[in-house]
């Protein structure tokens, strides 16, 4: 009697291990499937010329808060959609001739049920000569959340770059 029960327990344990491995395999497959992501990149020009916020920018209440509130006017210079993956990072030429490079490094599955997955995004800005202005910025972002890289001088103001991972 003991031997069959022990065998049953071992079988149950093995099944649970197999289930865990299959779940991990499925998650890996999901990561591979999501290895490409669409992003929206907006480029704004912040100045203090008193023209206010460009309506083309849309709803962006952050611009009224520090540190953006140091400039009273924002104009939309560019809005583009980029697709990035681990293999092929997307690049965008900025108005100051620098190049923004954005790449997807990883997709992190939610640790808890109900949470959304997060995207590990790497960004860098290179000068025309090839040297780095911003060597590395790596963020862990939820889909639909925007993060900004700002501060570059441009025509009496600053450039504000907003990067959002589309759901």
């Amino acid at each position: 009697m003991r031997l069959p029960l022990f065998a049953l327990l071992v079988a149950a344990f093995g099944l649970s291990l197999g289930h865990g491995a299959s779940v991990a395999h499925a998650e890996d497959a999901a990561v591979q499937a999501d290895a490409s992501v669409s992003m929206e990149i907006v480029v704004l020009h912040g100045t203090n010329d008193g023209t206010g916020i460009d309506p083309k920018i849309g709803k962006m209440p952050e611009l009224a808060k520090p540190p953006f509130s140091s400039y009273n006017s924002y104009k939309l210079l560019d809005r583009s959609k980029q697709t990035s993956s681990k293999a092929s990072p997307s690049t965008l030429k900025l108005p100051n001739d620098r190049v923004l490079k954005v790449s997807l490094k990883d997709v992190v599955q939610p640790a808890k049920k109900g949470d959304s997955k997060r995207y590990v995004i790497s960004a860098s800005i290179q000068k025309p000569g090839g040297s780095d202005f911003l060597p590395l910025l790596e963020v862990n972002a939820k889909a639909g959340e925007t993060f900004f890289v700002a501060g570059q001088n441009h025509k009496g103001g600053v450039l504000v770059i907003g990067i959002k991972v589309n759901p």
């Binding site: 649970s16 700002a150 501060g151």
Partner: protein, 249 residues
Amino acid sequence: MTTKTMNGEAHDTRTKRPPTDLELMMYVDGELEGERLREVRQALSRDSVLRNKVAALSLSASIVRENAESAASIDLTDGIMARIAADESSTRDARDAAPALLEVPVERKGADVKPLLRPGLDKAASKSAPSNDNSRGIFALAAIAVAAAAGLMIWGRMDVGAPQPQGAPVAAVTTPAELPAAPAPTPAEAPRAADADAQDGDAEPGVAVAAVDFGTKIGTIFYVPAEAATSNHTTTVVWLADDSAGGEQ
């Protein structure tokens, strides 16, 4: 044992040495013999303290012997076999039941089996399970297996958490006042910027900075409060100016 003094007079050292407790115990147990037995008897005849010691040792020895004999007289085997025969539970299979039916068929019908243990040991015996009752072990094994499986599954899910890049550069985070190229906030805005910093621990940022390398410059990471963002999370702003430090253009 005898020794000789300087003047050649023979002197027995044992007669002056009182018997030790060990020797008294050996005397009580009847293990002392020979010349030392005679000397101990002489010492006992002279010393009442030694006699009291011997009496106490004799009493304790008798108590120990009685208990040892009574414990040895308990027949555990018969009691266990009787309980096995009386066990009608479903945990027993045919292989367990077969010899019991052949050997003690009468005891199976008579379920009233009196324990053979002494009254003082009945309580402890009643708490112990029958020798072939492996249900506890099975349940324990099952619980361990289930717990291990659950732990592995949870661990497997946690393993896909946010990866931390190895050797990533450390973010150089400064306060807004330390950033010369960043726009200096007006006096009215400065407290709000401080509030934004204070809320770092309150609201989870929708975007978390995992690593940042500003090169030779000094950058700043702002977290704009959630109420100012389109989402419910704080907004992350990395501010890096051309002339913040290092003089590069």
